[in-house]
Symmetry: C2
Subunit: 225 residues, 2 copies
DNA sequence: TTCTTCATCCTTGCATGGTAGCATTTTAAT
DNA sequence: ATTAAAATGCTACCATGCAAGGATGAAGAA
């Protein structure tokens, strides 16, 4: 038997990365706020090394900006970066959904069916937190099916600034029923092998989350670049 | 006068990253070869820290694989990853070239004209090394014009495995004249505002570099995943 | 011979302290 | 009072040593 031992044990560095990233995205560390290796290390009771390594990774994603020998600060929300993320997602995900039409098999069919059932269940129950996760999972599955998980990962990493926007408008006016409906139609078009229709629904779907950035920027001016 | 002080001085970490990455892409460190923080640090006469930090970044790009507490090895060429890179590039760059039609201004017009003139010059002179750089620059300019340099960077980082393939077939049978011709037609279509035509040429252009991966894999079996 | 155990030698992970360089404050000179 | 220079304190950068854990091979038992 082949023992995969898929690293259940996360390294201190990875844990720090996850913690800090979550705090940034949840605006717990505010955009523009200074953070230091030393303070964070003390706060989490680890040495500076894993914190520093997490910082470097976060700096790669532009979630923080390191000014060498001076200080490090949480990046303000950069609408140009948000736009780049949107552009990337729109173009890639529309291409993915077309390719997905040729990749669907029984195994993934079941995965999608289960996912959609769970979405429906969550809507009825009103568990929007879990629904959010299922939404992510639905899209991730499309990439996994096409053997494009690395692109998914890259795309997600580029959307961290967008994620902070999402947190800003707490009173999320998502109409989950519409999202679910679109998911269903995307899946139906894939399973019936209609790539053009699937792409069209996906385009509508992705444009649904475009929202009032202008108002948010006026309201939280300090948080923006 | 505003003094930008754009860090002419690279950190030891960044230097190590560049050095190691170049050695990997030029197959100086062979696919599958073990490398250790300590050895590399000794070789370059720096401490383990900057080497380790460079390793972490390279591991992010999947150019090396770190097995914690065991060893680190240069990743073998992964054709799945090459395919993901190709997919990303094809879809994004076709979208970019369409957007570029709306973004061209006098400034960039001159940049492109100069770039193409230089390409022509290099072909006549036979300086294929420089021509390669100008090719990169041509494509980068398209992204820069569209305010999408981050996507360019991501895309490039995903194509490192592909770059190693390029090194493998040293006797590059590029027909540079055709590439130049396509560059010219892309630019002409952009400047005359014909996005569909520009996209079509770009698609042909990107497909031109598809080559005999199968033969290469048979010849250098050990270098592949 | 073959298998098991255990000691040794690797590796990377992490902790710690000193260094270099920027910023701010204090000091001193005009 | 103003300005310049020096001292101080802060930061991230880097060097180094130890710790944790897998790999290897020798030694001993079956």
């Amino acid at each position: 038997m082949h023992k995969d031992r898929t690293h259940v044990q996360l390294s201190a560095r990875d844990k720090m990365y996850e913690h800090i990233k979550n705090r940034i995205i949840n605006l717990d560390y505010e955009p523009g706020e200074k953070i230091s290796e030393k303070d964070v290390a003390l706060h989490y009771n680890v040495s500076k090394t894993p914190v520093r390594e997490a910082f470097l990774k976060l700096a790669e994603e532009e979630l923080i900006k390191i000014y060498p020998q001076r200080y490090t600060a949480v990046s303000k929300i950069d609408l140009d970066l948000v736009e780049e993320g949107r552009f990337l997602r729109e173009n890639i995900e529309c291409a993915i959904v077309k390719e997905a039409c040729n990749k669907l098999n029984d195994d993934y069919f079941m995965h999608f069916e289960l996912n959609l059932k769970l979405q429906q269940f969550c809507i009825e129950k009103g568990s929007y937190q879990e629904l959010f996760g299922l939404d992510e999972e639905f899209h991730r599955l499309l990439f996994e099916m096409c053997n494009k998980l690395r692109i998914w990962k890259l795309m997600r990493s580029m959307n961290s600034h967008f994620d902070r926007l999402r947190v800003l408008r707490l009173a999320s006016n998502h109409d989950w029923k519409i999202l679910f409906d679109q998911h269903t139609r995307i899946f139906d078009n894939i399973s019936s092998g209609q790539p053009e229709k699937a792409e069209k629904v996906m385009l509508d779907h992705l444009n649904l989350v475009h929202f009032e950035t202008k108002e948010l920027k006026e309201q939280y001016l300090d948080y923006f670049e």
